[in-house]
């Protein structure tokens, strides 16, 4: 049996990669993708813990997280489209109308 720690570590790696993606990429779509990575990392945790704790709650939680992810993506992509329409860019570095 694979130790729980491995799952947790795997999730951590994915989480950090996602985090790094948010921090370093300029394209807002890829940033959204990175956030998906992070959510998945949490999901891996939930399922793993759920398995090892012999409970179903974790899985239920993951189910809800997916719902949330779907909702977020919907809204997020709508925002991206609206943004692109108005500013013709997906580069978050150019979003500096609001500062200071």
């Amino acid at each position: 049996m694979v130790p729980l720690a491995y799952y947790v570590m795997l999730s951590a790696i994915v989480f950090v990669i996602g985090l790094a993606g948010v921090l370093i990429r300029r394209n807002i779509v890829i940033i959204l993708l990175s956030i998906e990575l992070m959510l998945n990392a949490a999901n891996i945790n939930f399922v793993a813990f759920s398995h090892y704790a012999e409970t179903i709650v974790g899985q239920v939680f993951v189910f809800f997280v997916m719902t949330v992810a779907a909702a977020e993506v919907t809204v997020g992509l709508a925002i991206v489209i609206a943004l692109y329409r108005r500013r013709a860019t997906l580069n978050v570095e150019e979003l500096t109308l609001l500062k200071w």
Binding site: V22, L23, V92, E93, L95, T96, K99, W100
Partner: protein, 655 residues
């Protein structure tokens, strides 16, 4: 009691009425102040004479009118005390005051501030009377400052003149410096005796001889205070009170205000700056004699300051050219005499001289006033001369004043001055002999400048400005009558204090101010030879002075300039008042003003406000930095969040 109370209240009422009508409001009252003020003054004089007579019949009074301040154990009343000292002062004050009132009707006629002037006169008379009537130190202090205020207001009577205002401010401030000591003295009295009324203090004082305080007590922790900083508490009190007297009576080193005070109208110079207010210092010293007597040190200081002032002022008086200034320096000098007497324990002599001086000096000032009046505000000696024929009454009365001042027998000044010199001669110790010598020299100088004044003004060729020469005229009778009255007194006032057992004034006052040390003025028969010698010496000095003046200003008028050229240092020094004013200006006035400016710009604006504004500016600067963090780059924001996260985790893991 009611009678005594009425004496000060009459002038006060006059002040209120005159001040509130003509003084502040134009209209029908304007220019009629004398209808109220003069009768009030004379009524006060009349009452004073009655009271004085009652006192000779044994009346003594010491009564509180009402409690003024009561706080814990500190309790001060406003009260009246009447004894011989008070009585003579009452008479002097009301007499000179009423004469000056009368005189001013003529002198101040047509002045813009006529009514104001009379209001102030009333206020001054009230304050001066209350001063002498006080039965405690604090009340004395109150009216002490009040007369100072009147002096201030009257010096600045012609407030358009800058010099007048300067003089007024200077007078007040210099007096304040003396009063600083006076005030501290009262505080020390309260701390020492637990009371500030004369009776308690004087009756407790003998028990306190030998008790000391350490001047540097507060610095004990720094190891500075030692036994040699111990001072007898009575000495300290005496010296502090004397500081007040120094200021008020224009003694060294606070004498500078009095000559400048001549910027005021001449009647004021006569009343305040010659006869009454400036003698308050002497009065104070006489008043506290029961305390002073217990402290030889304080006495010595009083005598020393008095002697030094007498000589110092006389040396200045010889070269001045402003007639009022000559008389003013003479006043300073004569006040020095009085102090000298008091310091030697000859209080009665001091007060006697105070009285005679009051008469002849008031006369001299009023005479000067008459001259100035006639010459259209001219005060320079060098533009006078030969006025004898134009101003006969003035001349005669002035002459009486001069001989009285010069101390020629049998005029008033002779007897009082002689008593002082005799007291000095008689007192034990080398110092006293030295003081006698100083007194003698001063007597000579006094005679010199007195006659110089007389000759320069009334004798010799006229140097009056030609445009004035035509209509020189004698003053009106409201002005000459006071002159005549005072002239009579200058001649005769001395006779109340004939040497020996006939000394009326001495007997009258000695009950108040007896001094064990010197039986001043009226010693035993065996001293009569010595006494005669002393009299002879002083008369000789006066005559020498007279002769020198006659020589220099009548016989050979070119002599003074010759001497002036031959002794330039002395002449210039004397002419410039030994540069005391300049010295004070350099030492105190200018540094103070400069320091104030520097402190304001340096400490207040730069350091304190700089700090305050600096804090504000720093906060703003930090705010701008904080604002700069907000780059608008959302990934910076994200990074900062993650950094926060990492920092928190690190804190947990590694700390």
């Amino acid at each position: 009691m009611t009678l005594a109370l009425l004496i000060p209240l009459l002038p006060f009422a006059a002040f209120l009425v005159v001040g509130l009508t003509g003084g502040l409001f134009a209209g029908p009252w304007r220019g009629r102040a004398h209808y109220i003020a003069v009768p009030a003054a004379f009524a006060a004089l009349f009452l004073s004479l009655i009271v004085c007579w009652q006192v000779t019949q044994g009346l003594r009074l010491n009564q509180d009118l009402y409690v003024w301040i009561a706080s814990g154990t500190f309790r001060v009343a406003i009260g009246l005390q009447i004894d011989p000292l008070t009585a003579v002062m009452l008479v002097l004050v009301t007499l000179v005051s009423s004469l000056v009132h009368l005189y001013s009707i003529g002198y101040m006629h047509g002045d813009r501030g006529y009514d104001r002037f009379f209001a102030y006169l009333g206020l001054f008379t009230f304050s001066m009377l209350m001063l002498v009537l006080s039965n405690n130190f604090l009340q004395l202090y109150v009216f002490w400052e009040a007369v100072g205020l009147c002096s201030y207001l009257l010096i600045a009577h012609w407030y358009e003149r800058k010099s007048a205002c300067d003089a007024a401010t200077k007078a007040f401030v210099v007096n304040r410096i003396g009063d600083f000591g006076f005030g501290l003295g009262i505080l020390l009295i309260f701390r020492t005796f637990g009371a500030v009324d004369y009776h308690t203090v004087f009756s407790m004082a003998p028990a306190l001889t030998g008790v000391t305080v350490n001047l540097l007590g507060p610095l004990e922790w720094a190891g500075l205070s030692g036994a040699h900083w111990d001072v007898g508490v009575l000495t300290l009190i005496g010296l502090l009170l004397f500081a007040g007297a120094i200021g008020k009576s224009a003694q060294l080193p606070l004498h500078t205000w009095l000559p400048d005070a001549m910027e005021g109208p001449t009647p004021i110079s006569a009343l305040i700056h010659a006869a009454t207010m400036v003698t308050a210092g002497v009065f104070l010293v006489a008043r506290v004699s029961p305390l002073l007597n217990l402290s030889p040190t304080a006495m010595a200081v009083v005598a020393g300051v008095g002697g030094a002032t007498a000589l110092f002022a006389a040396t200045i008086a010889v070269t001045q050219t402003d007639i009022k200034r000559i008389v003013a320096y003479s006043t300073v000098s004569q006040l020095g005499y009085m102090m000298l007497a008091c310091g030697l324990g000859a209080y009665t002599a001091g007060i006697f001289h105070l009285l005679t001086h009051g008469a002849f000096k008031a006369l001299l000032f009023l005479g000067c006033g008459s001259v100035i009046h006639a010459l259209g505000e001219e005060q320079d000696l060098r533009r006078m001369g030969g006025l004898r024929s134009h101003l006969p009454v003035t001349y005669v009365t002035f002459l009486a004043g001069v001989v009285a001042l010069a101390g020629l027998p049998p005029f008033a000044g002779f007897f009082s001055k002689d008593e002082i010199l005799w007291a000095a001669y008689q007192a034990p110790g080398v110092g006293a002999k030295l003081l006698w010598l100083v007194g003698l020299v001063t007597a000579g100088l006094t005679a010199f400048y007195a006659f110089r004044l007389l000759y320069a003004v009334f004798h010799g060729p006229s140097k009056v400005r030609p445009e004035l020469a035509g209509h020189l005229h004698e003053s009106p009778s409201v002005m000459t009558v006071p002159l005549i009255v005072l002239g009579g007194l200058s001649v005769a006032a001395g006779w109340i204090g004939l040497p020996g057992s006939a000394n009326l004034i001495g007997g009258f006052l000695s009950g108040v101010m007896g001094f064990a040390g010197v039986a001043a003025g009226h010693g035993g028969e065996d001293d009569s030879v010595a006494h005669g010698m002393v009299i002879g010496a002083s008369v000789a000095a006066a005559v020498i002075g007279w002769a020198a003046a006659y020589l220099c200003y009548v016989k050979r008028p070119e002599l003074p300039s010759v001497w002036a050229q031959r002794l330039p240092m002395l002449y210039q020094g004397s002419l410039n008042k030994w540069y005391v004013d300049e010295l004070y200006d350099r030492l105190f006035v200018r540094p103070t003003v400069r320091l104030a400016g520097a402190m304001w710009q340096g400490i207040d604006v730069r350091v304190i406000d700089g700090t305050v504004n600096g804090i504000g500016a720093t906060i703003r600067r930090w705010g701008r930095l904080a604002q700069l963090m907000q780059s608008g780059q959302l990934q910076h924001y994200a990074l900062l969040m993650v950094v926060g996260l990492v920092v928190l985790v690190s804190l947990y893991l590694f700390w």
